[in-house]
C-alpha cells in the first residue's frame, strides 16, 4: 500500500473558501498574471477576502507585478499566507527565490499538492489561482484536486492564441469544469471577432481590455496599477 495522505486534506484546507477561480488560457504572454493580480487587488479593494496563489512555477510573476518583496509565510499548523494589500499571497518564490527551478511534471504535481495540503487559507471569499499556460500538470491537478474550481479564460484576438484556447475550452467542457467566461485582452482593433467566436462554445464573453501602453510602467506599483486603463476595464468586467 502507498497512499498519499495529502490528497485527503486539500478539501479541508479549502473548506472556508467560497470560490476558487483559476485564471487560465492557452498560451503564455496573454495577460493571465495581469488579470489574476490586478483582479485580486480589485476584489480586495472592494472589501472581499482574497487569496492569491501563483502556480506558474517556471515563471512566477505575481510578486513582480504587485511589487511584493520580503514577506514569508508564518508556520502554524501548516503555513499561514502573509497578507499584502489585504491579499493572502502564496508563491513558490518564498522557497525558490529568484533562482531557476528546473522541475519536471511529477515534481510540479508534487509541489502543487504540497502547497495545497499545507496552506491554511482560512476564510476567503475568493481564492484566485494564476495558472501556467496550457493543459499541463498544474491545470490537470487543479481540476483533479479542487472540485469547486471555476475557470476564467484569458485570450487575445490572435488566431494562434484562439486555437489553443479552443482546445482548452473543449477539454474543460468535456470534463464538466465550470467556466466563468472569456476575457479578451490586449485588444488593438474594434473587431467583434472574439465575442462572436465565443458564442460557438456557449461560454460567456465577459468583456475586453484594450492594449494599455501604460501598464508596463505601472508594474510593481499597486496604486499606479489600479489607475491604469487595464484596471478600469477589468473593474467593469467584474462589475465594480
Amino acid at each position: 500500500m502507498n497512499i498519499d495522505p495529502r490528497l485527503n486534506i486539500i478539501k479541508e484546507r479549502l473548506r472556508d473558501v467560497r470560490r476558487v477561480v483559476a485564471i487560465s488560457g492557452g498560451k503564455g504572454g496573454i495577460g493571465k498574471s495581469s488579470v489574476a493580480s490586478i483582479g485580486a487587488l480589485i476584489l480586495s479593494k472592494s472589501g472581499y477576502r482574497v487569496g492569491l496563489l501563483d502556480l506558474d512555477f517556471w515563471g512566477p510573476s505575481l510578486d513582480t507585478i504587485l511589487g511584493i518583496e520580503n514577506i514569508f509565510p508564518r508556520e502554524e499548523k501548516g503555513i499561514i499566507p502573509p497578507e499584502i494589500f489585504a491579499i493572502k499571497f502564496i508563491s513558490i518564490i518564498y522557497y525558490a527565490g529568484e533562482r531557476p527551478l528546473p522541475l519536471r511534471g511529477a515534481d510540479i504535481s508534487n509541489a502543487i499538492v504540497e502547497l495545497l495540503a499545507i496552506t491554511q487559507w482560512g476564510s476567503l471569499d475568493f481564492l484566485i489561482i494564476d495558472m501556467p499556460p496550457g493543459m499541463g500538470d498544474a491545470t490537470l491537478d487543479i481540476i483533479r484536486l479542487v472540485k469547486k474550481v471555476e475557470f476564467l479564460i484569458v485570450t487575445t484576438q490572435s488566431k494562434v492564441v484562439l486555437e489553443t484556447v479552443e482546445k482548452m475550452l473543449r477539454m474543460l467542457k468535456d470534463l464538466k469544469v465550470p467556466i466563468l467566461g472569456i476575457i479578451e485582452n490586449m485588444k488593438i482593433t474594434n473587431s467583434p471577432f472574439v465575442k462572436d467566436w465565443a458564442k460557438k462554445f456557449d461560454v460567456s464573453f465577459l468583456g475586453e481590455i484594450n492594449f494599455d501602453k501604460n501598464l508596463e510602467t505601472s508594474i510593481g506599483n499597486v496604486d499606479k496599477l489600479l489607475e491604469t486603463n487595464f484596471a478600469h476595464s477589468l473593474k467593469k468586467i467584474m462589475r465594480f
Binding site: I3, P5, R6, I9, E75, K77, Y95, R104, I118
Partner: protein, 135 residues
C-alpha cells in the same frame, strides 16, 4: 509546526479509508516519513497523537518509520543518498526543502555530472504504507 498539517492529513486519510472500507475500527497505521522533507519526528508524532485523540481514533496504533531519500540523475544515471547532499546545504536551503522538497532541484546537483535534472526515487515525504482495520 507544519508537521501538524501533514499529521492531520494522515489521520483524515485513515478516517476516509475507514468510511470507504466500512471498517468498525482501524487498529494500525504504518507511515513512512521520507528523509528529504526532514520532518521533525517528535513534533510529527506529538501532532499525530493529539489529532488521533481529537478525532476519537484512539484504538489506532501508529507506527512511524523513516525512509532514506534516494536521488537519481536523469542525465548520467548516478544514484546517491540525500544524506550525502544534506551536508553541503545551508540551514536556509534545508529549511526551504523542508517546506517544499521539490526545491532540492535548486539547491542540489548530481554529484557526478552537476545536473539539476535528477529524480527523487524515494524518501520524499509522508506516505501511508499500511492500514489494518476490523470489520
Amino acid at each position: 509546526m507544519h508537521e501538524w498539517a501533514l499529521a492531520q492529513a494522515v489521520v483524515y486519510t485513515a478516517i476516509e479509508y475507514q468510511r470507504k472500507e466500512k471498517l468498525r475500527e482501524i487498529v494500525e497505521l504504518e507511515i513512512k516519513i521520507g528523509e528529504l522533507q526532514q520532518i521533525d519526528r517528535e513534533i510529527f508524532e506529538f501532532a499525530l497523537k493529539e489529532i488521533v485523540q481529537l478525532k476519537k481514533m484512539t484504538g489506532m496504533r501508529v507506527r512511524v518509520e523513516k525512509e532514506e531519500a534516494i536521488l537519481k540523475c536523469r542525465v548520467c544515471g548516478y544514484q546517491w543518498s540525500f544524506a550525502d547532499s544534506m551536508k553541503r546545504l545551508s540551514g536556509e536551503q534545508a529549511e526551504f526543502i523542508h517546506f517544499l522538497p521539490e526545491v532540492i532541484h535548486i539547491h542540489s546537483r548530481c554529484p557526478q555530472c552537476k545536473s539539476p535534472d535528477f529524480e527523487i526515487v524515494k524518501g520524499r515525504g509522508v506516505k501511508i504504507t499500511a492500514i489494518k482495520g476490523i470489520k
